[in-house]
Subunit: 201 residues, 2 copies
DNA sequence: GCGTTGCGATACTCAACCGTATCGAAATTA
DNA sequence: TAATTTCGATACGGTTGAGTATCGCAACGC
């Protein structure tokens, strides 16, 4: 999106409504969270839901993808707090947060877009990775790094593989399991124990 | 789809063309593989691509999702051959096949649908799991079971977690990696070694 | 040959939505 | 106050595709 680039140019006339902009983005996110795919998302529906004229949308974004990219970018992804008591404890907290997220419709649908429409809307997935995936991966990486430095884990641990195995295992369950409710209650523990048992000295 | 249910009732008139049916399903799959999402898939486009009248489609399926479900069901998923020399060897072959599949546009797009449109088209994902995911999971499970029985793996191995960790790790790389080409060449080996090191006696 | 049903093709109505234009009111600067 | 720009609303033409109907021909059982 283009904002004013010339610094302190005071444009005459009525300024753009910050509130309308927020309403538009909120409406877009809400519709995505309701299960509407990017392809079916219509500008008219977003405008109606936001209580805004179509013009107000077209004045800011020239097409749908730009709008959705901005909407995704506005998402703050709260990363689970990892107190650093032990690698096992942090990893379990991390995985539990992943599992909890997977039950939020909002997170679910946004992840669906990131996963399923990645080939059709590359910018979008790129943005998603940058905002959601990368910081979480960094958090997990630092846990494992710390474990290596503290001697809790072997010095030759393949960190990227460990991250992939931990996240991937949870992803596997949350996406491909036949029905969620039959998952073991201690799923994060079991994943952590399985992977970490191969990483200890 | 409804087939004749009353056994050997010979209906009068011209029989339905088996060829047309195949052409329709092939066209639908081809379009999906071309990157068309289920939502954008139009009956008219399918008919045109299949060289078939719209009527011929509507005579068989009452809506789009039914057709796509049938299309998915028609996919034969070739499962990699696992010669059973060793657990490590089989696992690596399995993972390598996963990675190779992820580069086929056909597999990619079908997986995208299964992943991304799962909430919107539940029947579809259910069918996908049944046809694609389950048999592969069984194949991997039997490899691990065999390893346990042969003493190659510990007797108390958490089989489901091992399956999830192995498949999930590969999935993680194929879906969430920033760019595929910088993946290590021995990715299957490294995943297998990391996970299996925690499963050995 | 006759009745029946499927075939591909075409035409049709109906709805959704795109992107633009226009309107009077509101908000802001000069 | 005047000029300017945005606001929400509405209207407009154009496109796409759904789902139905109809057509003349093809394929089958009797």
């Amino acid at each position: 999106m283009v904002t004013e680039q010339t610094g302190t140019v005071r444009t005459p006339g009525r300024p753009r409504s910050e509130k309308a902009e927020k309403a538009i983005i909120d409406a877009a996110i809400a519709m995505i969270a309701d299960g509407t795919g990017v392809a079916e998302l219509s500008i008219e529906a977003i405008a109606a839901r936001a209580g805004v004229g179509k013009t107000t949308i077209y004045r800011r974004w020239s097409n749908k993808e730009e709008l959705v990219v901005d909407a995704l970018a506005s998402l703050k992804a709260p990363i689970p707090e990892l107190p650093g008591l032990s690698v096992r404890d942090d990893v379990i907290r991390y995985l539990a947060a992943m599992q909890a997220d997977s039950h939020s419709p909002r997170t679910r649908c946004i992840m669906n877009i990131a996963l399923g429409e990645s080939d059709r809307f590359p910018h979008l997935t790129e943005r998603f990775r940058e905002i959601v995936v990368r910081p979480r991966r960094e958090a997990l990486r630092s846990v494992i790094q710390r474990g290596v430095e503290s001697g809790e884990l072997r010095p030759d641990v393949d960190v990227e593989m460990a991250i992939a195995a931990l996240s991937g295992a949870m992803m596997f369950f949350t996406k491909w399991r036949d029905n969620d409710d039959e998952l073991p209650a201690d799923l994060p523990d079991r994943i952590a124990d399985l992977i970490l048992s191969g990483l200890r000295p």
